[in-house]
Symmetry: C2
């Protein structure tokens, strides 16, 4: 077999099959003249049958697979099946092979070798990561046109960096996005939103954002606000912002078919909507608004048009957007609904199989593969003619994101956008945040939140999170507590719940529980200096914020460790994610001791030195517990009464020799940090012979620091505590 190969960097090879569609995943400029021909792929066996390529790789017993973004199957993705097909599937049970996004980048690794793979292809294909046969990884691409990249490197992090050099620098949200966010389907009107803000304030719980779900609109018509619910939306938005709370409205792509509705009429008039196979008739499906047309985000003009529509919200003072349902989700198409109704009316029921058939004729109308085959795009400038949605399905969400982001950038070139989007694909990580979709109030989904954070980070989605306490179903008291306790370490920290489920706002529990949740959320704000400093560092160095212990240590325990991760450079997060636990077994990777920190609700913090290896860590729902690596320091805020703001930074450092700690500031809103408008202070804390500590600092950036006073809580290797201060 002859394959076109392009050595695009010493560690990255591109193998080009046929003439791939440009998915926009790759931003690196690839020299088209640098292709040569090769017979084989390194490591992989490559076979072609009909129009399908099959790549197989024989795994040894210890090889792990990391990455694959938004998918099930643990941090180590081996032993599971994956299907790259963006899917609105609200039941994330173990066997599922496809969720809302497709991120076909992964690393096969063991002690000796690390190989990265990225398949740049815009629609469905399959990865069997040792499901059928544990030793065999196979990738099946049903096309002759796609790019396959192979990365090599000495470490997984090096391979991730190569992938991010290829596909772009991760999304940087505004700073307020790191605060606590409250959501529910739905706070449908001013009163409901005000009530949440009031209750939060009454309970002393800081909060940076409240989401408004589909009910704020007039009859689910996108880019409208129901005046009966929000009499003066702009005024209300401003009032809330005055209170420190951003409103984040949901936007769905489906445009309700309704005469005199301007978005609908403009779309029809200008051919901005996806078409039927005739290339003329607007494709119709049903989602929340009933019958809708879908904007053709693959088309340049439609994308621009859509992006401009957000002005309706920017003008109302909205700072953040939540793009949902953009796989796009389809509840049914009128054509198949009619066919189902006909079958139900006419079919004689002779046995239960007949019944199942008519039942399923209605029950399986949502998210049908064959509906997508009936929807067409006019990609780019539209001059190349129509393309079936089926052939570029996975790009729909990304291109809705592009629509939102590109026009925002034109109008607010300096401002960072807050954009949360559900459906995504490779490359979307540089444009917006995703969350993990419609999870459940299950303990296993708390664990999934932990695991998917790591998988998504490896694919460049550094700012992400799951619906805290679970979207569907009722949350138990204990699960709510443990989830909130963990989620303070989740870059996106949003509590969100579905219609009809238990009220899970932090103040909607018994007093003891609410007290604990207040402590968690305030501790989130206390840790914000660390979170933000590390996030910016992650973006700047193309290093995931959340990384598995297996990247640091290749022991059995580390490779098997699926329930903890390093957050930034200094903290190991080890959540309790099982019921009825007073603590958990922790694996402390490497061979150096850690500092076990408990930030307690009673204000008395607790520091203990723990040796590397296995450790049973007790921690209750009264405290926030984590581990600090040796010779690292963690900047925290000394919170004011509001539980949110601070004037002094306190650095908790575990110092046996020379420790480093950084604290970073910028304006939090703009991209000026890229123009040196930031302040960063980098400390070294050196243990002297007489057991005192020498603190030295260097600073970076042009910005005047807001914080000038630094307290140090220094714990030495014997657990002794020294307090020092430092002022600019």
């Amino acid at each position: 077999m002859k394959i076109k190969m392009n050595q695009i960097s010493p560690s990255t090879q591109l193998f080009r099959f046929g003439t791939p569609f440009n998915t926009e995943a790759v931003t690196l400029n690839i020299d088209a003249s640098s292709f040569c021909e090769t017979e084989n792929l390194p490591q992989f066996k490559c076979e072609k049958k009909d129009n399908t390529y099959l790549f197989t790789y024989v795994m040894n017993k210890k090889q792990c697979i990391f990455g694959l973004g938004e998918s099930l199957g643990g941090m180590n993705k081996r032993s599971h099946n994956y299907r790259m097909w963006n899917s609105d599937d609200p039941s994330h049970t173990e066997e599922k092979d496809a969720l809302y996004g497709s991120h076909p980048f992964f690393i096969i690794s063991d002690e000796n070798e690390k190989i990265g793979i990225f398949i740049d292809f815009p629609t469905e294909f399959h990865i069997d990561a040792g499901f059928t046969q544990y030793d065999i990884l196979s990738i099946k691409v049903p096309s002759e046109n796609f790019d396959l990249y192979i990365f090599t490197g000495n470490s997984e992090l090096q391979i991730v960096r190569e992938y991010l050099k290829l596909t772009g620098t991760p999304y940087m949200p505004p700073k307020w996005a790191f605060g606590f966010q409250q959501s529910r389907w739905s706070y449908p009107n001013e009163n409901a939103v005000t009530n949440v803000a009031d209750k939060m304030a009454d309970a002393g719980i800081p909060c940076d954002a409240i989401y408004i779900d589909i009910d704020y609109m007039d009859n689910y018509k996108v880019f409208t606000v129901d005046k009966n619910k929000f009499a003066d939306f702009k005024k209300f938005t401003a009032e809330m912002k005055q209170r420190g709370i951003r409103l984040i409205p949901i936007i769905d792509p489906g445009v309700r078919v309704e005469e005199n509705y301007s978005v609908y009429e403009d779309g029809v008039k200008n051919n901005y909507f996806c078409k039927e196979s005739d290339g003329k008739t607007d494709f119709t499906a049903a989602v929340w608004p009933g019958l809708v047309h879908f904007p053709d985000f693959l088309n340049d003009n439609a994308r621009t048009w859509w992006g401009q529509l957000y002005h309706f919200l920017w003008d109302a003072g909205i700072d953040g957007i939540w793009n949902d349902m953009n796989e796009p989700a389809i509840f049914y198409t009128p054509r198949k609904l009619e066919a189902a109704k006909k079958k139900i009316a006419e079919r004689t029921i002779n046995n239960s199989w007949d019944f199942f058939e008519i039942r399923d004729s209605l029950g399986t109308l949502a998210n049908r593969r064959d509906d997508y085959a009936e929807m067409y795009h006019l990609p780019g400038d539209g001059k190349s003619g129509i393309v079936s949605h089926e052939n570029l399905h996975n790009l729909y969400g990304l291109n809705m994101t592009r629509a939102t982001v590109d026009e925002f950038k034109k109008d607010f070139p300096d401002k960072r956008i807050f954009l949360l989007t559900r459906s995504s694909s490779a490359g979307a990580h540089r444009m917006a945040a995703i969350w993990m979709g419609d999870n459940q109030s299950w303990w296993s989904h708390l664990l999934l939140h932990i695991q998917m954070l790591v998988s998504l980070n490896i694919c460049g989605f550094f700012y992400t999170g799951a619906d805290v306490c679970g979207f569907s179903g009722n949350v138990s008291n204990e699960l709510a507590l443990r989830w909130m306790q963990f989620a303070i370490f989740s870059p996106l920290f949003r509590n969100h719940a579905a219609l009809g489920t238990r009220n899970q706002e932090p103040y909607n529990f018994d007093d003891k529980t609410t007290n604990r949740m207040r402590h968690f959320i305030r501790t989130r704000y206390k840790l914000l200096p660390y979170m933000y400093t590390e996030f910016v560092n992650a973006v700047k160095t193309l290093t995931p914020l959340c990384t598995p212990t297996a990247f640091y240590d290749k022991s059995c325990q580390s490779l098997e460790c699926q329930d903890e991760f390093f957050l930034g450079r200094s903290i190991l997060v080890t959540p309790v994610y099982q019921p009825n636990a007073q603590g958990r077994n922790v694996y402390l990777a490497g061979n150096r001791p850690y500092l076990y920190v408990k930030l307690c609700n009673n204000g008395l913090d607790n520091f203990n030195i723990v040796q590397a290896g296995n450790f049973y860590a007790e921690y209750s729902a009264d405290e926030v517990a984590f581990f600090i690596k040796e010779n690292c320091g963690v900047p925290t805020g000394v919170l004011e009464e509001d539980g949110k703001t601070f004037n002094t930074v306190e650095i908790i450092a575990f110092v046996s020799g020379v420790a480093t700690a950084s604290y970073y500031e910028d304006d939090g809103e703009t991209n000026d940090y890229l123009k040196n408008n930031f302040f960063q202070i980098d400390f070294t804390i050196k243990k002297e012979i007489n057991n005192s500590f020498c603190i030295q600092a260097t600073t970076q950036g042009n910005r005047q620091p807001e914080i000038k006073n630094y307290n140090f809580v220094i714990v030495d290797e014997k657990g002794g505590i020294t307090r020092q201060t430092f002022s600019l």
Copy 2:
């Protein structure tokens, strides 16, 4: 409040509310004259509102809840909701509160106190075990007529024994039931069954039973065999039995409505079927056969009639029965189906909510609470008139079991019945086995198998198990291996899969996997002497075969340990139930060392002494690994070439002082063991001062032993191995 109380034993109090229906759960004779009046329940707050009783109990932080039989929520049942309502729900996701059986017996325990609770009530009620508020256990019984028992004792095992004294001695299956069993929906005909038997034999995999699922029948008509599939059923059954394989046919309660079908016609003629509210019309619903009537198992005559129908199978040489669908499962009722069709035809779809309504009108027809309210019984001799099924729903499965068992006992008074039944309630444990219903090929359901074994054992269901490798969905290579590896410790060891899923018979994998599965299954047979000895001991002493570590040790780790259990008196089972693991963290309860045994596929076994506490145990899919308690011995068979039979018993003993080990034999088929027709040899193995071992034996029972030669593999506390023999 005045409550009737009866102190029925020093440790058991009965609180009687109103005039309870006799559920048959309790077999102990209760002296009706011994009731006195009391104001309060011990520990519980009791409130009555309308016709509902609410019992609440304030739990401390460390209290665990054990029991509750077939339910989700871990071994410790706290932090979950439970609904006593037998349900055919094939999706055992975390939030589910009701499965196929209702077993409302549980123990609240901590170091200081153990309280047992049993609510004897035949239909729906709720237990909130700290779900809504972690500190509060609440029981809500919507009736004025029920019995509530409170047990006290020094240990959980003592409370279990009191419960079993009240409700009867657990079911004792024939010995062959402890062999490996293979099932699938479906092996529909002689060829398919023969093929399974042949492939097993070719692969050298012993097997004691093959199940035939619904397709063996003529058009799903119960008590028929399709002659096109099994030309001579009796001859075929005999042939298979000749090969050592029992056929186990499925029996569903729904009787197909079909003229000239004798079961249907007899049932109609004699009023054996459940009725509509008029007490006359036979109640009709749809299950596999299409429209069916349900036998009124609550009625004495109908129950006798049904029990006699099994003669059709006993006469064909069948030794074991699988009663399924006996909640009873309902796919739909014709009345509601017509209403749904009407709604679908007439409803105008204005928005998605309209669509959901018509979709769900068909999609929610199964297992509807309101269907059961339209079904009526004539309980007992029928003279007391009709009773709504809704008022005694949970007794339907138990009474189908009674029908099968009672008539079997009349006709084969000495023989043990093999009966596997899906739906059950308290008391059913003394009549038959249950399995854990339609699980999924999920790792979490492997863990659920482990956990539910313990919960069911606490409620008296000693012989039970889950569908190994999972019923619904495709099993991965690795999950199949790990599940089979664990299931050799499951009393019921049945591999079963749903229609359309991956073939998961042990020979249907790659050679390496099949070799490993052969090793597991042969090791099951090797361990049968221990399994059977311990099972009989469990039944005789009313002590669960599978018990949680938390019964032995009240450390945090032990209380939190949800993934291991003691099997009998000597073995700790610690399965690997997570993907990509080379081993697992094990908690070794108590403060004495254990012997870590690995029985390897290469024939070289491996013994290591491990201290109590936390231990990372490596074990691959090539070996069977378990722990033996100090001063215990485990009898195993020295297998012949067939991998099943043995002439010598080898006792693996871990001896630091004086160890005990027992080996038991009986005819395996009859109840003669109750008449002293058994053989048991009890060894003591004493470590002498010179490091040699003195083996002494006593025997029990009148039966001549089959095994006369005993090898001993004795491991001392330093790991030294001594081999000795003993002959009768």
